[in-house]
Amino acid sequence: MIVAVTCAGKSIDSPLDNRFGRAESFILFDLENGSFTFLDNEQNLNAAQGAGIQSAQKIAKSGATALITGHTGPKAFKVLSSAGISVYHSSAKTVKNAIEEFKAGKLEKAPNPDVESHWA
C-alpha cells in the first residue's frame, strides 16, 4: 500500500506541508518495503483556481490509496473520496513523524473535509 504525504521540502525529514492543493510536493511512501519517491507539485502552486482538485487527481494517478496532509477542502475531498483514496489529517511536525503516526494507527480516517473552499 502506498501513502501520499504532503511535504514542504525535499526529504522525508522535511516538515509536513499543511496545505494539500498548494503543497510543495508529495512523498509517496511504500508501506510494504519502506521505500519512497517524490512527486513534484510546482505547477499547482500557480493554479488560479482548483489547485486542490488538480492535486487530488495527481494523487489518484500516482497509485496511492491513502493521503496524509494538514487540511483538505471540499472539492479536493470529493475527488479523493470518489477516487477511493482515504484521507488522514495530521498535525505531525515532519513527514516521517506523520508516517509513523499512521503506521501506529494513531491517525483517524477523515469523514469530511475540514476547511472551507479556498484554503486548499
Binding site: 493554479a47 482548483g50 487530488a56 470529493k78 475527488v79 470518489s82 477516487a83
Partner: protein, 279 residues
C-alpha cells in the same frame, strides 16, 4: 457615451452618483446596474421591474455510457472544473468558464451541455430612463458573463451609465471595459486613498480617461487630493458630508431629493465629459 461609475471599495456612494447622473440628465438615458452581487440602484429609481429573465451559462455534463475515462477533458480544462476521479469524471460547475473546450476535445462525444442558471436580468422603463440590472444567484461565483449580458442593453443612447461592482478585479474590469469615461467615487480617508490608487491604476492601464468624485467631503484629510494632484487626475466633484444625504438614502430617496442643486452639478459633469471626449 458610456460612463462607468466605479470605486475601489464598496460603500463610497457609487450607486448614489450613478443614479443622480441619469436622473439629472434631460434626455433619454440607460442605467445598467452591473453590481450583480448586490444590485441596489433600482431601489432608488423606484421603478417596478417589468421584465424578468433567467440568465444561464452552458456547463458540461458527462454521458457516463460514452465516456471511456481517458481524462483528456480534465487535462484540458485550465480552470480545473473537471476531474478524473476513479471511475468517473466530476464536474465542478462553479469553476467552469463555459469555454466549450471539453466538448470539442472529447474523442467519445461524451460531453453534453446543460444550462446552469446563475442569475436574473431585470429591466424597467420609465419616461426617460431605461434601467437594467443583473442579479447573481447567491453562492454563484461567475459574475463576468452576467455583467457582459447586462451591458448588451447599453447601446445607442445619448448617455449610458454603468454602476460597476466595487473593487478592481475581474468583475470591475468586465463592467468598465469599453466605457468612454470612468468616474471613481471615493472618500477622504486613508483607506479611500489606498483603494482609489488601486482602482485608478487599473483604469489607467485600460487607457480609459477618468475623474474622481470625492464623497463625504469635509473630514480635513487631504490625502486623496494630494494623490490626484500628483497623478494628474481631475477631481470633478466634491460632495460635502451631510447627514441629510445619509438619511435620505436610508429612506430610499436620492441625493437630488435633498440637494436639488446637485442636478445642475451632475448635468455639468456629463457635459464636461462629453466635451472632453469630443475635443
Amino acid at each position: 457615451m458610456t460612463v462607468a461609475v466605479a470605486s475601489g471599495k464598496g460603500g463610497t456612494g457609487k450607486t448614489t452618483v450613478a443614479v443622480a447622473l441619469v436622473l439629472s440628465y434631460d434626455r433619454n438615458s440607460v442605467l445598467l446596474d452591473c453590481d450583480v452581487e448586490e444590485p441596489n440602484a433600482g431601489f432608488f429609481l423606484r421603478s417596478k421591474s417589468i421584465k424578468k429573465e433567467e440568465f444561464s451559462v452552458p456547463v458540461p455534463v458527462i454521458d457516463a455510457a460514452k465516456c471511456n475515462l481517458c481524462g483528456r477533458c480534465a487535462d484540458f480544462c485550465s480552470f480545473n472544473a473537471l476531474a478524473l476521479a476513479g471511475s468517473k469524471i466530476l464536474v465542478f460547475r462553479d469553476l467552469c468558464h463555459s469555454c466549450g473546450g471539453c466538448s470539442l476535445i472529447c474523442p467519445q462525444n461524451a460531453v453534453m451541455e446543460e444550462k446552469n442558471i446563475i442569475g436574473e436580468i431585470h429591466s424597467a422603463e420609465s419616461d426617460k430612463i431605461f434601467f437594467v440590472e443583473g442579479t447573481l444567484k447567491i453562492g454563484k461565483a461567475m459574475s463576468p458573463p452576467l455583467i457582459r449580458e447586462v451591458k448588451k442593453y447599453g447601446k445607442g443612447e445619448n448617455l449610458t451609465v454603468i454602476d460597476c461592482p466595487p473593487g478592481n478585479s475581474c468583475p470591475m474590469i468586465t463592467a468598465v471595459r469599453g466605457a468612454d469615461y470612468v468616474v471613481l467615487v471615493t472618500e477622504p480617508t486613508p483607506f479611500g486613498r489606498h483603494d482609489l490608487s488601486l482602482a485608478a491604476e487599473t483604469v489607467s492601464e485600460m487607457k480609459i480617461p477618468l475623474g474622481v468624485i470625492l464623497n463625504r467631503y469635509g473630514s480635513g484629510y487631504k490625502g486623496v487630493e494630494e494623490f490626484c494632484e500628483k497623478r494628474g487626475i481631475e477631481i470633478i466633484l466634491k460632495i460635502d458630508e451631510d447627514i441629510k444625504i445619509a438619511q435620505a438614502q436610508s429612506e430610499g430617496k436620492t441625493i437630488l431629493d435633498v440637494c436639488p442643486e446637485m442636478k445642475d452639478k451632475m448635468c455639468g459633469i456629463v457635459d464636461k465629459i462629453q466635451k472632453g471626449l469630443t475635443k
